[in-house]
Each structure stands twice: as C-alpha cells, then as structure tokens.
Amino acid sequence: MNREEERAIEWDCQKTMRQYYDYVDHRDFDSAANLFTEDIDWMSHGVALHGRKELRDGLQAALGEGTIRHVLSNTVVNVIDEDNAELDEYHTLYYSADQEYETVDGPIAFEGPHRIIDCFAALRRTPEGWRIAKRRAPIIFRHDPNEPVRLETWGKKEGKT
C-alpha cells in the first residue's frame, strides 16, 4: 500500500468517527448504531455492549435525555492493512443531564468540561463502508467523580457492567 492509499483510509476512518458523534450529539441513535459493525464490541464507563441493538439501547438510555457535545481532538489513525485500521483520539465532553438545548431559552450554562476521555477504536472496511468494530473509552479526567451519569446507572441496572 502506498502513502496515498493509507492517507485515504486515515481520512475515511476519522470521518466515520466524527459522523458517529454528530449523530449521537443530535440523538440520531439509529444512524449512529449503523456506523458500527454488526458484531460491535463496545466498552465505556465500565459498561460493555455487544451488537448494534444493544448499543442503540445503551445510547438511547444514556443520551435520550439531556444535552451532550463530544469535542474530538488529537485523532491519529494507524492503518493496519487495506481493510483494517485503529484510531486514537480524545473527547472533551460538555454535558447537561437535565436540560435539552431545543427547549432551553438561550444557551445552557456550564462550568467547564464534564469529562476527558481517551478513545480507542478499531475500524473495519465493510460493504457498507468503514465501520467501528471495537471501541474502548476510559475516563481520564472528570469534573465530579461522585456524580453518576445515566450510562453508568443504566448499565448497572441492566447488568452490563
């Protein structure tokens, strides 16, 4: 593979990740789940999810209410071969559990980032295009470690932790 082909894969993979978070941040969870492989292996906030349906249920439970914005940075793509790549990036999260931006009169007040997350993803080329096959996302910094977020609460209730 030459550098031009590698570069094209790097671009496509980082675009897939950006598209995923744009869908999530706008609560389009069906479109978000379709950017994963059917056998997605997903782990974040101590919650493990497998397959698109489970993932979609988790996204709905975690982010169906409130407002979140994932600010992505430092994305580095490592091409393994023409059908596989790995990606590292950071998410700076701004989050309100109780307020939806569509119903608030004016911007939502905030005191800074809610959490900083290291994200790893393995991506695979499929007939649908590049899809996320594995995701790991440990929290590194957190505004208030004692304040649970909905994904954690839902994951414990559903036995996914």
Binding site: W11, V71, I116, P138, I140, F141
Partner: protein
C-alpha cells in the same frame, strides 16, 4: 505543487503533531522525541530546548510522574514547499503532575488538575 499535493502535506503534518502529543501522554518520550528533527528548536512556557536529547530530558522531567492531556484543536498547516511546512494550533491542557491514572481505579477529578 498542486492542491492535492499540498493537502497531503497538510494532513501528514497534522497527524505528526497529534501523534507527538499522544506519545507524550502515553509517556513514550523516546518515540515523541523521534518526531523532532535532530536540531529541533523548542520553546514553551518560557523554556528553551535545543535538540532531541534536551527535549527528551524536558519531557521526562515535566510529564513522567503525572497524567497530562493536551487537546489539540484549530490546527492550520501552511505548506511552504515540498519539504517545509508551518502550523499553528490551540492546546487545552489538563495536567495532574503528581497523579498517574494507572495507579487509580477512578478518573482524576478536575479540581486535582492544573490547567
């Protein structure tokens, strides 16, 4: 140089910058330093460093004992010619200089950081 060639350089330089910070965050300082030229001229926070060895020493003393994340945004790469480019970008830094994330079971509270 045509625009496609320029765009390729822009992307490659962005990837190199991000890779550098990711190595620093993983405390892989030797790999981070290898991304500099041997005669690198480094200036940050009032500190001047010249060459890979000095930068390696600076990174070790600055980041070996703690946890840091530089979130890089707003990068603009300006291509000068086929072998030279310049970049500007914004760094938001979250730094807990005395806490290693691997040594804890919970995330680091923001109030424990020095931004």
């Amino acid at each position: 140089m045509n625009r496609n060639e320029e765009r390729a350089i822009e992307w490659d330089c962005e990837q190199l910058l991000r890779r550098y910070y990711n190595f620093v965050h993983g405390r892989e300082f030797s790999k981070a330093v290898a991304l500099f030229t041997p005669d690198a001229d480094w200036h940050a926070l009032g500190v001047d460093l010249k060459g890979r060895e000095a930068i390696l020493e600076g990174l070790r003393s600055g980041f070996a004992a703690g946890t840091v994340r530089h979130t890089v945004t707003g990068t603009v790469v300006t291509v000068i010619d086929a072998e030279n480019a310049e970049s500007v970008y914004c760094n938001s830094v979250y730094n807990a200089p005395d806490i290693r994330i691997e040594d804890r079971e919970t995330p680091i509270a923001m109030e424990e950081t020095r931004r």
